[in-house]
Assembly symmetry: none
Homo-oligomer: 249 residues x 2
Amino acid sequence: MLKEERQQLILDKIGADKKVTLVALSKELDVSYDSIRRDIIELEERGLLRKVHGGAITNSYLPMKVRQRMGIPNPEIVRIARKTLRLIQPGQTILMDGGTTPLYIVEQFPKEMELTVVTNNLPLAVVLADHPHIEVMVLGGSFYKRYQITMGQTVMDQLAHLRVDWYLMGVVGSHPDEGFSLRNHEETLLKRRMMQTARQVAVCLTTEKLHTPAAHRICGLEDVSLLITSLNPSDAQLAEYQEKGLEIW
Amino acid sequence: MLKEERQQLILDKIGADKKVTLVALSKELDVSYDSIRRDIIELEERGLLRKVHGGAITNSYLPMKVRQRMGIPNPEIVRIARKTLRLIQPGQTILMDGGTTPLYIVEQFPKEMELTVVTNNLPLAVVLADHPHIEVMVLGGSFYKRYQITMGQTVMDQLAHLRVDWYLMGVVGSHPDEGFSLRNHEETLLKRRMMQTARQVAVCLTTEKLHTPAAHRICGLEDVSLLITSLNPSDAQLAEYQEKGLEIW
DNA sequence: ATGTTTTTTGCATTTATTTGCAGACCTAAT
DNA sequence: ATTAGGTCTGCAAATAAATGCAAAAAACAT
């Protein structure tokens, strides 16, 4: 078994269970405790997980490429995708941006669904090539390879002429008081612009982001219409959001 | 067994299993460990896989998906791609459009190449995500799923502000008297526009297209600077093109 | 076709990485 | 203080990678 393969399995397991223990892993993958330990150290150095005594836990943020290689979407994202589907009415126009969540959501779209999707996320457009009744509009601009999206002034200009029903916004960080945030400043500008072109905005969030704000603020809770998570809307972790009057699914 | 053929098998295997080990491959394909190792190095330089200790793993699953749709690169296209590479100088800006030939050409790009690529071909942009020194500009517009390219007025508008060194044009049909042609009318409009934004235009052609015009004419021979085929420039099949004064590689 | 040039291949040698293990070490709970 | 669980360090064996070279095979031009 290749070292990288093993490390990928560790990441998969962490993605599914949120935590792993070294002893369990070394038994399961049938390699020495030390090898696993060294793997975990390497992965931590690359920022892909957090090492704790006797094991490791998820790190809230994983770059897209790593997730993509994982192949199987984690169950949390599948739940979010299913809820999001209920939101969309046939014939509508929706705007989707970067990240893996939108990618999994469109993968869940039924093949016969009739829809127009506007996106700056190239993999997303390519995935939708298999859906004959979905019209796709690609926003052109400089290609930001890390997230496989386009950005820049050209994208902004194209948005000026658009009016969509929903904007499904992906975010990196979120906090009940501080609102939604990202790692990258330029992308916040883009997202703010996207919000303006949409009649309604929905944010899709994985649980670990709920109380971890990122560096650059996009907007406050009051600016979005709907929050979609994998949790039950009445879950305690969502209470603070609930109180601020945000609709939650 | 040809090198190209072997490399294709390696890519196929990686596409299926997400990983390969060098020892297994050298046994399976019955060539020395070193040859396989050198193949892997080459493929990595083109960004088609990631080399790891003892083997190789997939780089990103999307280009693989696209690749499967593309099928095996026939040796003719590989020859064309190699010739085209000689044309491009570091630091230039080139415009590439739809089709599989451009995709094979960019696959041949060494990873260190410095270049700006403008394209309406989404898989092409995604493939180039692994080339850190290549800047990619995506032309946005309606997505034509069949060819995985964008088209329409939006694309045209973006071209208005552009000026590139080379336009590598793909065509469906060609004839020494009638010039170059396509099956789709709207695409001819786009290609004509693309020609205007480029200082020089090169056409890449496979042999079977040399005397088979398609329905919609793009332009005459006099409008392109260079013709690239898999044949020797002095080949009899190219004589008529030669006579009309078209430069041939 | 035929000889020339270029590319590819396999091998031997050297160098580097990975792995498991043993023992020292740390820390917290008895 | 002792002990149990986990971590860290150094080491040696096994495995893999890089390098240089000569033979073989393709590709090329004449």
